[in-house]
Amino acid sequence: MELKDQIRINAPRERVFAALNDPAILKQAIPGCESLEATSPTDFTAVVAARIGPLAARFTGSVSLADIEAPVRYTLSGEGKGGPAGFAKVKASVELEEDGAATLLGYSVKADIGGKLGQLGGSIVDRTAQKLAGEFFQQFDALIAAPAEATDDAGDSKPVVMAQPPARGVGPVWWGVAAMIALLLAWMALK
């Protein structure tokens, strides 16, 4: 499965990159994220309790970062294990581009799923992954763009959630995790 898109985030590039490195923000943005921990400067684990409709599962993912070129780009590879359900592997790259005061965030993800997860995932894998990626971005945008909007007097202000400065070296784990959850959910979404 491949996902590729570019989205516009209402915040300057440095800030977007920093937010992508902020476990607190990411934890809030990732649907169902229970924990997000760095095990080394470039390795992270996350536990996500995913739920779709009647189905629920807990999923453990690990992600490694490479080619970090702040605040422009990085790549990551991750693997998620769903126990007897199978596994998911993710390779992703992201690139941030300045667009005035905002940032264009381009991403491409290649994910492979295996075991029962993939066999029963069928054709709705992409859709579910896209949906979750969409949810993530919506939340992410809301979390980091809100202060800027507030200062712009741009209507309803949203709560400022950015509570603490980015932890050093914590990378954009959301990628792998979001895609992996998506895959897990796709697996579960089958009859």
Binding site: F87, D112, I113, G114, G118, Q119, G122, K191
Partner: protein, 800 residues
């Protein structure tokens, strides 16, 4: 409803309802999953999620702690306690790379579904619970899936110990030396250069198979005194017995295999020797308790039943008046891991290549086959063993020639059928007997082609697209030792023990193991006809190595050819003895031929007042063996063997009519008509059923079924929601007719039938579709053929 013997009092050729049926329609059948032994444990396999990975660690500690768990077996344990499955008894005498492998994966997993561990628990639900707790640490390796790419020098290797992924290569034409083959290639090339017409296609057939409704099952028990007894869903119990003994290092007399009397279909899938059986047998010996494994459908679809899977690049040269001249084929078979004993995945494509020339005469041929390892499940035999793909290619190519020269495909076929037998094909296959033209002409009478062409034209004028398609096939009627010994390292002869008891009841023991073909009924008819008794008075036992004579199993249409012939031979030996004693008792000099066995009596035909009841003479010989002719002893039991000097064949031809809806490419098979040479028919009802079943399997394979691996080698079709079998509402009625020629090489003139029968189907079907859409000039060279594919072709041709 009960059938009667014919006018001569014979049961041969009658539509006798089956002896098997009463127990099966009342729920009294005993399949392997119905057998329960005291203290029986349940086994579940943990299988690889990866198509290719190194096994870093298999942690069974949590599983061992789980409720109800008795043991967990790993590959390391199997390797240190048992031999590999690469045992001489399971190795063909053909030059191929034979991987060494064990009951469970060791070091590496090589396909998605490779067994890694086996969990044994007191309760089957608990066994599944515990299997989830086995933690396997994999180090993923790159996969090789495309058989052509697998030959690249830098392709990942499926088996580390081999230099490359080329398992087997053979040229089937031209002779034994490189020089002879090169000369042949040049000669074939010359024919192609000068031929009026040449057609060429890359004919790809997907992975599909036959999928019996009963999955595999193994129940093994161990006793210190008797050794190992295995109830196994197998078509060849006697070979299995030797394999168990060799692999587990058990004295052969302490190994017994019983194929349950009721087996839910085999179709070749149950003919190999499987590694799971070894693990179950090992576990029962280790634990001293019976262990049973019943395969889930999920496992079955991931591990076995995958066949076909070939790409044949076939060229045919012909003259403009429709004479087929030469064929040239380059075959590629994607064999998967090659890790299935007896067949090793490559024996099927091997035979498929041999059978490619089909029933046509050729001046020359040049055929080569490469069989290639990939990270997929090993091909397993399935009915139409290896030649479903080659025959698809040939039957399509023949139609392509006909279209190119503007000839009716049926006329072109008839013109090129081997006119007289025996005949040896360009690949060296011997066709012993029969009359292909008679079979063909019968088909054409059934079909009435001129009437169809008229119907087709009228329909087309109304915007309806009907088409007719033909196909035919030479099939092996059993497999002679001449072919079996090199191909499977096993004998081809048929063996039967026949015993008559003092009540005149006849017991027949055979080493084969049927799975629904109706052996009990068919054999009872032969025996009844031979002794002039009722089929009710016969008892057939198969499948138990402890009580039956050695046999190679129920494979390759051996029933009507070899087993039936052995039974007849054994009966004849007993008739000889009976008439010898009877003549002595009657005080006459008479030969066996002068007696008739009829209606429960043995009658001296020159003086019918001289007669004796079959039961009485049986009782006399078995129970009162005194005053016998000189040199004769009491008892009525013998074992006979039947072997044909040369391979034997049967022949069939198909025609089908389809209708295609242009707007969607959806099509319906309206009629399916066959013509068969099956030799003398023992029970036409059973033969009809075999043919109908085979043809529908062929259709289901060609249209609905497909084993799919994704680009990571993940098997994506492991349940019946994803691997679609045809339902009753998806397939046509099948009308079977006969134009038989008795086989001169079997005592009853019978031929074995059914094994190869699906192979004519995909060609006939696709020929009909192409015929229906002739105005748009489309072609079909790949299977499966589905509405979406047909619609794309119609769209590309501008039809929609």
């Amino acid at each position: 409803m009960s059938a009667k013997p014919d006018d001569r009092g014979s049961w041969m050729g009658t539509r006798l309802p089956r002896k098997e049926d009463l127990r099966l329609i009342t729920g009294q059948g005993k399949y392997v999953a119905d057998i329960v032994l005291p203290g029986m444990l349940h086994a579940v396999f943990v299988r690889s999620d990866y198509a290719h990975a190194r096994l870093v660690n298999v942690d069974v500690s949590a599983a061992l702690e789980a409720p109800g768990v008795v043991a967990v077996i790993t590959g390391e344990e199997m390797k240190s306690h048992c031999r590999s499955l690469r045992q001489p008894v399971l190795l063909p005498n053909l030059p191929a790379k034979y991987p060494t492998y064990y009951g469970l994966a060791v070091d590496k997993v090589k396909f998605h579904g490779d067994p890694v561990a086996m969990v044994i628990a007191r309760d089957k639900y608990q066994a599944v619970d515990a299997a989830e707790l086995v933690v396997v640490d994999y180090e993923e390796l790159p996969v090789v899936l495309d058989p052509e790419a697998a030959l690249d020098a830098d392709a990942p290797r499926v088996h580390d110990e081999e230099a490359d992924n080329l398992m087997f290569e053979m040229t089937f034409t031209g002779g034994g030396t490189d020089e002879e083959r090169a000369k042949n290639e040049a000669e074939v090339e010359k024919i192609f250069q000068s031929a009026d017409v040449v057609v060429k296609g890359r004919f790809r057939v997907h992975r599909t198979g036959t999928t019996p409704m009963e999955t595999r099952g193994v129940l093994a028990e161990w006793s210190a005194s008797d050794g190992l007894t295995v109830y196994n869903t197998t078509q060849r119990p006697h070979i299995d017995r030797l394999a168990f003994a060799d692999i587990l290092d058990i004295p052969a007399e302490k190994a017994r295999v019983i194929a349950p009397r009721d087996m839910g279909g085999g179709f070749g899938l149950k003919a190999p020797f499987y590694r799971e059986s070894v693990v179950v047998a090992y576990a029962c010996r280790k634990l001293g308790r019976p262990v049973r494994w019943i395969e889930s459908r999920y496992e079955s679809l991931m591990n076995i039943g995958q066949e076909r899977g070939q790409i044949n690049t076939l060229e045919v040269a012909a003259s403009k008046d429709g004479k087929l001249l030469a064929l040239r084929n380059r075959g590629i078979a994607d064999v998967g891991t090659g890790q299935i004993g007896v067949y090793w995945g490559f024996v099927m494509p091997f035979l498929g290549a041999v059978e490619m020339p089909n029933a046509y005469t050729w001046e020359a041929g040049d055929t080569n086959l490469k069989v290639i390892f990939t990270n997929k499940a090993c091909l397993t035999p399935s009915r139409a063993f290896g030649h479903f793909p080659t025959r698809f290619a040939m039957e399509r190519a023949v139609d392509m020639v006909a279209r190119k020269i503007g000839m009716e495909p049926s006329d072109l076929r008839r013109r090129n059928l081997v006119p007289r037998l025996p005949y040896t094909s360009v690949t060296g296959e011997y066709y012993d007997s029969g009359d292909f033209l008679k079979v063909w002409d019968n088909l054409m009478v059934q079909v009435d082609l001129p009437a169809f062409r008229k119907e087709q034209a009228e329909a087309r004028a109304q915007g309806r697209y009907l088409g007719i398609g033909f196909g035919c096939g030479v099939e092996l009627s059993g497999v002679a030792s001449e072919l079996m010994v090199p191909m499977e390292n096993q004998p081809g002869y048929g063996a039967a023990t026949v015993r008559i008891d003092p009540r005149g009841k006849v017991f027949i023991m055979g080493g084969d193991a049927p799975g629904g073909q109706g052996h009990e009924t068919t054999i009872s008819q032969i025996v009844a006809a031979t002794f002039g008794i009722s089929p009710e008075d016969t008892i057939i036992t198969t499948g138990d190595t402890g009580t039956t004579p050695f046999g190679s199993g129920t494979i390759g249409a051996r029933m009507g050819s070899y087993f039936a012939s052995a039974v007849r031979k054994a009966c004849d030996e007993l008739r000889e003895k009976i008439t010898h004693v009877l003549a002595h008792d009657l005080g006459i000099r008479a030969t066996m031929e002068e007696f008739a066995f009829t209606e429960g009596e043995v009658v001296y035909q020159r003086d019918p007042s001289k007669r004796k009841g079959f039961r009485e003479i049986a009782e006399r010989i078995v129970m009162f063996p005194i005053n016998l002719p000189e040199g004769e002893v009491g008892g009525l039991e013998t074992t006979a063997f039947f072997e044909a000097a040369k391979p034997m064949i049967c022949f069939n031809a198909d025609a089908c009519v389809v209708e295609v809806e242009l707007a969607t490419g959806q099509f319906k098979v309206l009629r399916w008509q066959t013509s068969e040479d099956v030799g003398n028919v023992i029970n036409p009802m059973i033969v009809d059923g075999q043919m109908q079943g085979a043809i529908i399997q062929g259709l289901s394979n060609a249209i609905f079924e497909e084993f799919i691996y994704n680009d990571q080698g993940q098997q994506m079709t492991a349940d019946f929601e994803h691997y679609k079998l045809a339902t009753a509402a998806d397939v046509p009625d099948v009308k079977v007719t006969y134009a038989s020629t008795p086989c001169p090489h079997t005592p009853l003139g019978t031929r074995g039938i059914g094994e190869g029968r699906p192979s004519a189907v995909p060609g006939a079907l696709c020929n009909a579709l192409v015929d229906a859409l002739a105005p748009f000039d489309i072609d079909i060279t790949e299977l499966p053929i589905r509405p979406s594919v047909l619609w794309q072709k119609l769209k590309a041709a501008g039809a929609v």
